[in-house]
């Protein structure tokens, strides 16, 4: 945890330095707070069985425009197991997003996941890099759906384990001025031993309560197809986001 805090602090320093050294005037800080309740049908529990689990996530995010079309984000997520009443994970991360056009954006991120020891599960610490390219057809439309393709390369920081490439196709459209939905399919492929890990299907319904508050209700089905996969997971989640703009 201390190592994670050190890394997070380093990331924060980099973020602040990159904003102050930048030629353009950085934008205001946008804080986002997220509360999420998430129910899993099948996921490994703290006693190593695969059964239903429920988690509560709390996220605090700081977002800032660093330069023209360049945005920084630093975030911390606490994952609490409601079944055990204990923290199941602490996730910290930093990302830089560059919008190359209204269609194409790139996201470079580093994240650190610290899962504390729970029952028979020993503690683990993992950190990963991700590079993602998101291409959106018909962005910012008010009348027609937008289609986006997200390609993500993700790897452990020593580049020797857990290397994956994922392709996500999303269709997003508005129900009304305040509500929209997103339907997505994602293909995740493990590069280390060259096999597909999962197919993921999701549906998210989003409702903007105000311009700074939103609620999202989502369903995600993870179809595990890697060698030896013993279960698939159905995930239902309800999220509330509150944004505070400085």
């Amino acid at each position: 945890m201390r190592a994670m805090m050190r890394r997070m602090f380093l990331c924060f320093v980099i973020l602040v330095l990159s904003s102050t050294l930048s030629a353009a005037k950085p934008g205001p800080v946008v804080f986002t707070l997220m509360e999420r309740f998430e129910g899993h049908s099948d996921t490994p529990s703290s006693i190593r069985d695969v059964s239903g689990e429920t988690y509560a996530y709390t996220m605090l995010s700081l977002f800032r425009k660093l330069d023209e079309d360049v945005f920084g984000n630093i975030f911390y997520i606490n994952k609490l197991s409601l079944d055990d009443g204990e923290t199941a994970g602490n996730i910290g991360g930093i990302s830089v997003t560059k919008k190359h056009s209204k269609h194409l954006s790139m996201n470079y991120s580093y994240s650190y996941t610290s899962n504390p020891e729970r029952n028979v599960v020993p503690s683990s610490d993992t950190d990963r890099f991700s590079i993602a390219a998101n291409y959106t057809i018909n962005p910012n439309t008010m009348s027609a759906p937008s289609y986006s393709i997200l390609t993500t390369y993700s790897t452990g920081t020593d580049f020797s384990y857990g290397r994956t490439i994922a392709e996500k196709f999303t269709v997003k459209d508005k129900f009304s001025k305040k509500s929209d939905y997103a339907v997505a399919y994602q293909y995740v492929y493990g590069l280390n031993n060259s096999e597909q890990f999962t197919n993921q299907y999701s549906l998210d319904l989003n409702f903007n309560i105000t311009k700074l508050d939103r609620i999202s209700f989502g369903y995600l089905f993870i179809d595990n197809i890697y060698s030896g996969a013993a279960y698939d997971d159905n995930i239902v989640r309800l999220s509330y986001y509150r944004t505070i703009k400085q």
Binding site: P44, S111, T113, Y161, K211, L212, A229
Partner: protein, 269 residues
């Protein structure tokens, strides 16, 4: 030294002299709700032509309405004149700036009903000149013919034959060429009823035109940076809580067989 002072003085005088004149801009009025034969002469030396809905007319324009014909003239967010049948009028000047408006019309013959928006300041004016009188108003609805002026709302000042008289709501004065206005007397009920109907009509048309000219109500939109923050946050949350987590679980699942309660195997990804 004296030369510098005199240059400065000239500059100050020039700025002061021009400051008052460059701000007040001529504006145009819009003709609408035309019924029957309404003709417009944009400038004195131009031909008469049929008025059309939405036509813009400015200083110097003359308008005439034939038998059973009428039209509305609107300007400055709420000033409205109904041109009644067999009327001939001219726009002498229409000017507006941030602080004041100035409207000067001439009624040659016929009948105008004017409804005036609240004037911007005490410097603002709205005047209708007839062959017999000059009516100056402030926040008023009134009816003008060359022979009498009737006030439906507010108060107006009528100037005729070298005398000024204030005419209040519900009163009217008669005017003859070269003579001062008569003493105000109550508008007969049947005439007042007709004028109130015209006043209501003008009010509705003015509101309709002001509403049509207003920019559409802005939807409550997310600020652009919040929109991007939402996208980035969603992507990072998805990446760390779903993608990374599932990879970690897959790696961990190779270390044990579900239900055995033990840790087996080695990390292979």
């Amino acid at each position: 030294m004296l030369k510098r002072i005199s240059i400065s003085a000239i500059a100050v005088i020039f700025i002061a002299a021009t400051a008052g004149t460059i701000h007040c801009a001529a504006i145009k009025a819009t003709i609408s709700k035309i019924k029957g034969d309404v003709q417009v002469k944009i400038m004195a030396d131009m031909q008469w032509k049929a008025a059309t809905d939405g036509m813009k007319v400015g200083e110097g324009a003359e308008i005439k309405a034939g038998e059973n014909s009428e039209a509305f003239l609107t300007w400055s967010k709420g000033n409205i004149v109904k041109i009644l049948p067999l009327t001939a009028m001219k726009i002498e000047s229409l000017q507006e700036d941030e602080k004041k408006t100035s409207s000067n019309l001439t009624l040659a013959s016929g009948n105008l009903f004017a409804r005036v928006a609240k004037l911007k300041s005490s410097d603002s004016s709205f005047k209708i000149k007839t062959p017999t009188a000059l009516a100056g108003v402030r926040g008023t609805a009134f009816d003008v013919t060359p022979s009498n002026i009737a006030v439906v709302e507010g108060t107006i000042v009528v100037e005729a034959g070298g005398q000024e008289i204030e005419v209040t709501e519900g009163m009217m004065v008669a005017i003859e060429i070269g003579m001062p206005p008569s003493l105000p007397e109550a508008i007969p009920p049947e005439k007042m009823e007709g004028l109130e109907a015209v006043n209501t009509e003008c009010e509705e048309v003015a509101a309709e035109i002001v509403e049509a000219a207003a920019p559409p109500a802005r939807e409550e939109e997310k600020p652009a940076d919040v929109e991007i923050a939402d996208e980035v946050v969603d992507q990072n949350v998805d990446q760390t809580t779903v993608q990374n987590q599932s990879v970690i679980e897959i790696i961990e699942s190779t270390e044990f067989e579900p239900g055995t309660g033990g840790i087996n195997g080695t990390l292979s990804y």
